[in-house]
């Protein structure tokens, strides 16, 4: 019990220092939390857009419906394909009239429908990368009744580049802020050790074990990390609520999944423990010649 008591006493004895450490860690983690919130929403948006990625095959005029039906069944069995949709010539014209309002006059005056029938393939999750999309497009081109295949190559590639950028940014920024948190906890532990140097020297002199001496500091690191993590969650939630209620365009903002929050708080506590253990071992090791 003494280690826990000492850890709490340590925080109580220097409340300003303890509070500053917790706040500093909390604020670092808030930035991480806000970034996580952005990353999560960007990810959600990208996934939403990705779900709309389609490979469209335009059919030749003389493509027989029987052949097309057989091909559709084949395509439905592709693991990459989530849904196959056939759009007839008439349907294509109706869509064009509806979607392209500025050309409605042109479409109204047509005697012959110039638009081809098409097959739309929507891809399953995990098969929406540029490579997978191109592969499906190539297979579609293999059918002799397909005249042309479109899937917006440049658009798909940009979408994936954006996702890679977001992931890379999250990793770099997340790592940087985690490092800041570690350095803050380390500094806080060093200051706590300094504040208790007299006690530590006596403990070392009378023969307390290293783990006994280190334990309160590690517990203090755990408490600091845990409180910092909880503060970060609270402030991130506050920022989320303010954004949603006060700013237009943010009403569709999605809150972080519970698993992310739990992971974040656990990671903050873990960081606290690791930073404290590393720091305390380095600081106290000097008293042990070996």
């Amino acid at each position: 019990m003494r280690p826990l008591r000492d850890a709490l006493a340590g925080l109580k004895r220097a409340p300003l220092l303890g509070g500053l450490s917790i706040s500093a860690i909390g604020l670092s983690l808030v930035i991480l939390g806000l970034f996580g919130l952005s990353a999560h929403n960007i990810g959600t948006a990208i996934s939403d857009v990705e779900r709309r990625v389609e490979v469209v095959g335009y059919l030749l005029e003389d493509a027989g419906s029987a052949r097309v039906d057989i091909a559709r069944q084949e395509m439905e069995s592709y693991p990459e394909v989530e849904e196959v949709r056939y759009v007839s010539k008439t349907e294509a014209l109706l869509n064009a009239r509806r979607d392209l309002v500025e050309f409605s006059d042109v479409y109204e005056e047509l005697r012959v429908n110039p638009l081809p029938a098409s097959i739309h393939l929507r891809l399953s999750e995990g098969f929406r990368s540029p490579e997978a999309v191109a592969g499906v497009a190539a297979r579609l081109r293999g059918y002799d009744f397909i005249e042309d295949v479109r899937f917006g190559e440049a658009w798909v590639e940009q979408l994936f580049a954006l996702r890679r950028l977001a992931a890379g940014g999250a990793t770099i920024l997340g790592g940087s802020f985690a490092l800041v948190a570690v350095l803050l906890i380390g500094t806080s532990v060093r200051m706590a050790i300094l504040a208790r140097s007299e006690e530590i020297e006596i403990m070392q002199t009378v023969g307390a074990t290293e783990s006994y001496i280190q334990r309160p500091f590690v517990i203090e690191g755990l408490i600091t990390g845990l409180l910092g993590g909880l503060i970060a969650v609270g402030l991130t939630r506050l920022a989320y609520s303010i954004l949603r209620s006060r700013f237009e365009g943010f009403d569709s903002l999605v809150w972080l999944p519970d698993s992310w929050i739990l992971l974040g708080v656990l990671a903050a506590s873990g960081l606290g423990v690791l930073a404290a253990a590393f720091s305390v071992r380095r600081e106290l090791g000097r008293a042990y010649a070996v």
Partner: protein
């Protein structure tokens, strides 16, 4: 119990603190460790307490050897070697009994044994009536007694004292010294670093080890006070410290006091072949309490 075999300690920044020192302190022995400030006394105590390791040679304390001790064994060694500081190092916010309780707690003594042990220790150092006093309410001598009681909390077999009377008036110093003597008479080995020449002079039968410029220059238990080379196990041919009597601080009254020329350090003269391999304990050394 404590054996130094050709021990040298060089600090990277400040250079050699002690050089080629060999001596042996037996169980239950009392020895003064004398020398000027900066002569190397504190480094010797730190080496015994394994706060630092020798650069060369070997320090043996009980069954622990400096060249093969593991880091995790050091706390155990320190429980067997009590340490008394000149500047007390008491926790000012704790009472006398709480300071002792602190040592008991951090070394894992069962809580049910606390009260009895604290009372016994305070009684042993003559402070039973001051158990609830804060250090700031105690005199220098009383504080040092609390420090001694704290050092005894782990039932050590050796007591190291680094200038324990340095901050005390003569009367308090005398009282603290008498306490060390009584502990020694109960079987505890005591090594007391001091530059209190008067204290050393008043106790001529005690063994005196004198260091100067990091070298052991005088050992009253050695043949004629001369410091003899110590045979190194498995390396018996290794040469040792130059032989040179101390220039000052030697006990003045005992018959065994060597002639001490005032000459500066000079190269080693031929080593006396009759010198013993290890020095003998002082004649007043009590029977060892128990083997470590």
């Amino acid at each position: 119990m404590i054996r130094f075999i050709n021990v040298s300690k060089v600090y990277p920044r400040t250079g050699a603190a002690v050089s080629d020192i060999s001596f042996h302190i037996k169980k239950g022995e009392f020895a003064f460790l004398t020398g000027h400030s900066g002569a190397g006394k504190s480094t010797l105590l730190k080496l015994i307490h394994f706060q630092t390791l020798p650069t060369e040679g070997q320090v043996q304390v009980s069954r622990y050897h400096s060249d093969r001790i593991k880091r995790r064994d050091i706390p155990d060694l320190r429980r067997r070697v009590g340490f008394v500081f000149q500047d007390f190092k008491l926790l000012e916010r704790l009472t006398a009994s709480e300071n002792i309780g602190f040592a008991l707690e951090v070394t894992g003594t069962p809580r049910r044994d606390f009260d009895a042990k604290i009372q016994r220790l305070l009684g042993q150092v003559g402070l039973a009536a001051k158990s609830r006093s804060l250090p700031s309410e105690l005199s220098g001598g009383e504080r040092q007694r609390v420090v001694i009681a704290r050092a005894l909390a782990t039932d050590p077999l050796i007591l190291l004292a680094d200038e324990p009377t340095g901050n005390l008036d003569p009367r308090a110093a005398e009282g603290v010294f008498e306490l060390f003597r009584s502990l020694n008479q109960m079987g505890m080995a005591v090594l007391m670093a001091t530059h209190d020449t008067e204290l050393v002079r008043k106790n001529p039968t005690m063994r005196v080890l004198e260091v100067e410029h990091g070298r052991l220059v005088y050992d009253s238990a050695a043949n004629g006070g001369k410091v003899a080379p110590v045979a190194v196990p498995n390396d018996p041919g290794k040469p040792s410290t130059p032989v040179r009597p101390a220039e000052n601080l030697a006990p003045s009254t005992p018959s065994s006091t060597p002639v001490r020329p005032a000459s500066p350090v000079r190269p080693a003269s031929p080593v006396d072949p009759s010198a013993p391999g290890t020095t003998e304990p002082a004649s007043n050394a009590p029977t060892p309490r128990e083997a470590l």
